[in-house]
């Protein structure tokens, strides 16, 4: 079902009529004929209420679930940062970063370089249990990025972090994504986070892409830069939040 190809030159993700229903008995589909594309190097945020199916959509792109019907074209080189760090407790931090990589000789050097990018080079020898939530999530980010993915899938990666750590993490993600330019799909319920990071924001509602907003505001963005507030109101309204 999921055609794993490297897509075309300028297109990383191409979804056509992707539909997902969990039981054949009911007619309800959590995703109903979803169409969207992500260009190479484009940062797309997908927002939606809890239970709207945004994580399911991400899992389909990750190949962790398959669509009931429809065409899914994604690059082979794709990695996920999950909501929880999901580090393997029995492996040291650096081993977690390079887990599963087989075609590189000096894994330690790769791990160290990747950890340095997220500011954790001196924790390479630690056990994951010793890390704080923010540190663990940065390790998860290093693990996803050191493979130089063509598509980076972020599933509410900052959801469990405190507000300050979250801002730091967003900064790290922004810097690293602009350096390596993977196509990114960020799943989040936080409109401000989507606006801070994304080139384009999609709203998932009632099993469909209900709204698509191109955020043409230069970075770094602060609340109030350009017409961010206007975008914010549009997005919140489509999510059923009335703001003044």
């Amino acid at each position: 079902m999921n055609d794993v190809t490297d897509g075309t030159e300028d297109l990383a993700v191409n979804l056509r009529g992707a539909t997902k229903s969990f039981s054949s008995a009911s007619n309800f589909s959590i995703l109903d004929g979803i169409d969207f594309k992500i260009a190479t190097g484009e940062f797309v945020a997908l927002v939606g209420k809890s239970g709207s199916g945004k994580t399911t959509l991400l899992r389909i792109l990750a190949g962790l679930e398959s669509a009931t019907s429809g065409d899914v074209i994604v690059p082979k080189a794709r990695t996920v940062v999950f909501q929880e760090p999901r580090l393997i407790q029995s492996m040291r931090v650096w081993e977690n970063v390079v887990i599963g990589i087989k075609d590189i000789q000096d894994l330690r050097a790769l791990a160290n370089a990747s950890l340095a990018e997220v500011g954790l080079e001196n924790l390479a020898e630690n056990w994951p249990a010793k890390l704080s939530g923010g540190e663990a999530q940065r390790v998860a980010l290093a693990r996803a990025l050191c493979r130089r993915p063509k598509l980076l899938l972020l599933d509410e990666p900052f959801g469990a972090l405190d507000a300050l750590t979250r801002l730091n993490m967003q900064q790290v993600v922004r810097t690293l994504c602009s350096r390596y330019k993977p196509a990114v799909l960020l799943v989040t319920h936080d409109v401000d986070e989507a606006l801070a990071l994304a080139d384009r924001v999609l709203v998932l509602s009632n099993s469909k892409i209900a709204l698509e907003v191109q955020i043409e505001v230069e970075r770094p963005r602060k609340m109030g830069t350009g017409n961010l507030l206007e975008f914010r109101n549009i997005l919140l309204r489509s999510l059923g939040v009335e703001s003044d």
């Binding site: 990695t79 393997i88 407790q89 029995s90 887990i99 056990w127 249990a129 693990r143």
Partner: protein, 256 residues
Amino acid sequence: MSVSARRLLLRLVLPILILVVWTWLAGSTLVPELTMPTPLEVLRQWKIMFDEDDLIVQIFTSLTRAMTGLAIGGAIGFLLGLSAGISEVVENVVDAPLQMMRAIPFIALIPLFILWFGIGETPKIVIIALATYYPVYANTSSGVRNVDGRIVECAQSFGVSGRELYQKVIIPLAMPTILTGLRLSLIISVLALVAAEQINAQSGIGFLLTRSTGYGQNYAVFACVALYALFGLLADLLVRALEKVLVPWRSGVALR
């Protein structure tokens, strides 16, 4: 006082108390004369056995039996537990028979074992293996089954699969539970040793014990039993050492 000195002291409190009560009890009129040696007399008895009965060789013989039986039983328990933990099909196939086998009082089978396996080392090792497979099986299977599926999914999404998935992810994460099983099996292997060594033993602690019982040498009986208790302590030390090697990462996860 340093933490390790304090820990050692705490560990010694109860054994010392027991030695004191034991010494007092052995010298009192509460127990019939000549039926309970004092700790000092046990030491003296060990010295006699060391001189007259090659005590070191006997200990070595007994421990070899226990470890061989445990290695076989533990390996079977581990492999079955791993398979049952991974696959529901395997669990459905093997679990009920293993539970039934566990309920069989293997000591009652000793006469049959002698008919089946003779009176050499084989029946002794079979008994110990039969007595020890179960804790390792049960703990391995539950340890593997309880590994967080999200972690496994994540490892798979980063290209870990097949043998590597078991070696690097599933077995290490199940290891604390597996070691709990091994700890129980180690103790049981010492208990089973007593039963096993009643089969025509010409050597080993069980042989000394049987012989001493036959001659009514109560002090020697006591000295042999005290040896088994020491084996129990050794078993515990062994598992603690294994824990340090196999689950070094746990110090940050565990409650303490």
